[in-house]
Symmetry: C2
Subunit: 253 residues, 2 copies
DNA sequence: GAAAAGTGCTTGGTCTGACCAAGAAGTGGG
DNA sequence: CCCACTTCTTGGTCAGACCAAGCACTTTTC
């Protein structure tokens, strides 16, 4: 940022699709395009901007990857290119790859999870009147089924943490929490599947910790909820993930 | 997630570029592609995958937007399409648009900043031996110049917070912190520019708080550093931003 | 012989123009 | 009135062409 000394980077020679991107962003930043609005058809953008359709499409593709757009063919009200709002999809995808590239060591991811989920849990506990309790309890209870396959156990585990994040009422925090949690989903499933005799013991521990977290949130105990979640995330990785994966550090596939 | 009740979403009809995307991601997740590696030229991918060049390019464009790739023309060692590692660029861009779309109300952004920067400051204070202190002090001292234009004041302000985030040694936390901070950069500049007589008073307050934060980090006082940063972020928005922008709530352009 | 100028090839960037398929809306016959 | 057919719009895909950036190699020039 704002490095006064150097920053003589060669002027980023703008490619055509970047110009298109800039135009669309302008409209969004200026408030002329809001969630639900429809963009002109690709072919119209082509003549409006005087560029090829390929350039337009590459720009739209970028926005779609960021969760800003949603495209569908056809003519109906559901068709065309419309402004959407799915930041978590874009975030999840982005984090997933960068974690795999080991740009983000596993320890960093755990630290981020601990921070975000601690904060999310505190928010949730402070909003027990918000009505998100039911959505948290459902995956909690389903995980109690001892016959549950590990993959579904992992899914409900994810759902439990996601529900807490969303119960806090903060979309940005929730989306980041969800993205980080989803990014390690595959890694956790791998860990679960490698557990043999220990599986039941690990599952029991997770169930117990989840129940304790739920109780703290339901009781509106902000401090306890935050502390329990943080300990839950850190403890699980420290005691189990590192043991199973051999403390290799990276979060590879 | 894993909603057992419904989830009968229509099968996402895979578009060609998504197949290309999947293939590249496979290679990354499998560890066959690492940072610094070069992808085959677009034309080779075309015949390897049996798709058009447009499809390949759209896929590569998505990965580039996520900060996973970097493309340059020509033949030399710097050219071609290379696996890069610039998650913060992608993150910043993504958050910027979604904040502008008001998917994220300003209060949510402040909450996220407070959470992330608090955690980052605690990490930084715990790592004073890490050597990041100089990079934090430089923007701090530059901001003391009373003749500094407001735009540069804002730049150094950003740099100060970024330096703290990076001094913590956690790339993921730092990148998220930087992305969120950058996403509100324009908003803060607007606030600065609207201040008239109050400007000097506000600047003085920010300088004082920054100095206190720096001292806490330099002293390795983890708790104080975290508390001060959190109070700094929350206080600034509560006392100043909301006053100037009329408490409108959204973080629009 | 060495520096300078020119040539060729690889690579991403762009454009044109065409065709396909999904899907809503009109259209005609029963 | 209803069903089948056609039409038109829209995104998705493709093939083929040309441009410009750069590096590597050759030729020219002094």
């Amino acid at each position: 940022m704002a490095d006064t000394t150097a920053a003589w980077e060669p002027v980023p020679r703008s490619r055509t699709f970047e110009l298109v991107l800039a135009r669309v962003e302008e409209q969004i930043l200026a408030g002329n395009l809001r969630v639900g609005d429809r963009l002109p058809p690709e072919r119209e953008l082509v003549e409006m901007l005087g560029v090829s359709r390929a350039a337009v499409r590459e720009a739209l593709r970028v926005l779609e990857a960021q969760g800003v757009l949603r495209s569908r063919v056809g003519t109906g009200p559901e068709s065309g290119t419309v402004i959407a709002a799915m930041p978590d999809a874009g975030l999840t995808q982005l984090l997933r790859l960068h974690i795999a590239l080991a740009n983000f060591p596993m320890d960093d991811v755990v630290e981020a999870r601990a921070t975000l989920e601690r904060a999310s849990a505190r928010l949730a506990a402070g909003l027990v009147a918000g009505g998100g309790l039911d959505r948290i309890r459902e995956p909690l209870l389903r995980m109690d089924d001892p016959a549950l396959p590990r993959e579904q156990f992992n899914d409900f585990d994810t759902e439990f943490h996601v529900a807490i994040a969303e119960a806090g009422g903060n979309r940005l925090m929730a989306d980041m929490t969800v993205a980080v949690r989803n990014a390690v989903r595959h890694t956790l499933l791998t860990v679960f599947n490698r557990l043999e005799d220990d599986w039941e013991r690990v599952a029991a521990r997770l169930r117990a910790e989840h129940h304790a977290i739920y109780e703290a949130i339901a009781a509106g105990d902000v401090d306890a909820a935050g502390d329990l979640v943080e300990a839950h995330v850190r403890g699980f990785h420290q005691d189990i993930v590192k043991t199973v994966l051999g403390d290799s550090g990276s979060a590879g596939a």
